[in-house]
């Protein structure tokens, strides 16, 4: 088994969009395989006393983040459109991503969701938008029924516990062995580290 990197993302996270769009290419170029791990930041933020995104709680930080995203997406030739509402409700998208077991399709669905949300400014809690994202990944809209299933709900709950156990406090996060790397800015370091273990 070759080098492995876990990619932990919340669908509401702006900077996770940047990583989702480049991680497969960056990792495979170095021979590292990526495990896509959807989770929810909300319960982790709530434990820190945040009932909203820190980018909304701290306005200067929020203004900066949006400008930073504009600059970074422009530099990477990624489409960027700020959604009307932020943060979006990422619960359904996260459950759907977990319901997709095939790694390539989960990755493709995930990229489609981020592209809809931050590339086109669409609402990812909308079942129609999610159905289109499933279609983009070659999947049936029937999968939407999985959103309410008990096993998927339990699995997402477990994902949040696993994230906490890894010391994760934000997204995107990358884990290789016992090392945690936070933020799209650390993706290349995380890939390089994965090769050493």
């Amino acid at each position: 088994m070759g080098a492995q990197l876990e990619f932990w993302f919340d669908f509401a996270s702006t900077y996770s969009y940047l990583s989702a769009m480049r991680i497969e290419q960056a990792a495979s170029a170095k021979g590292v395989s990526v495990s896509w791990q959807p989770f929810l930041l909300g319960p982790i933020f709530a434990e820190q006393g945040w009932k909203n995104s820190p980018f909304n709680i701290y306005p200067a930080k929020g203004r900066y983040m949006w400008r930073d995203m504009e600059r970074l997406t422009a530099a990477r030739d990624l489409p960027f459109q700020r959604p009307a509402a932020f943060p979006q409700n990422s619960l359904k998208a996260a459950r759907l991503a977990l319901a997709i077991e095939a790694p390539d399709q989960r990755a493709e669905f995930t990229r489609a969701v981020y592209a809809a949300e931050f590339g086109a400014g669409r609402d990812i809690s909308d079942a129609e938008v999610l159905a289109e994202c499933l279609a983009d990944a070659g999947l049936s809209p029937d999968l939407l029924t999985r959103i309410g299933d008990a096993d998927i709900k339990a699995e997402l709950f477990e994902q949040v516990e696993r994230a906490k156990a890894r010391g994760i406090f934000g997204a995107p996060s990358f884990v290789a062995g016992d090392e945690l790397f936070w933020g799209d800015d650390r993706l290349d370091d995380a890939i390089s580290y994965a090769l050493t273990i």
Copy 2:
């Protein structure tokens, strides 16, 4: 007048140590001149409701930061020793840096303070440590008397107001024209941007 970049730092800030140690070389290699701007994050954090460093308020974030600093300083061959107390009281060091008007000496003093604090784990609110840092920059310890002077106190107050006016909410921050860049991870982008205006 050539390209200019403002470097805003708080002496208590760990990641500012990384930037202080490389900014002159990185900027001058591209023909950009650096203006060293000491300020205090405390009053800005207090307005956000933080009475302590966010790295202490949010333990997972703090644990991560110290590990991240270990990795980054090792990769850059910088000495690193976590000080016994964090954050340190950076008030005297900030006032002293402002009292040094010659840009090169201000930069040299600043690097000496960061090296003492995060390279050697020393207490930068200690007058003896600060006197050594002044000596490292070829300056007299007599400058320590400036710490209590009204004009320097007022100047530091003004620096915090200037930082707020620039939208600064953390350190290190870099400003070129109307663009703000936050974090050592954005230093190279900030230098590149400074060349375009």
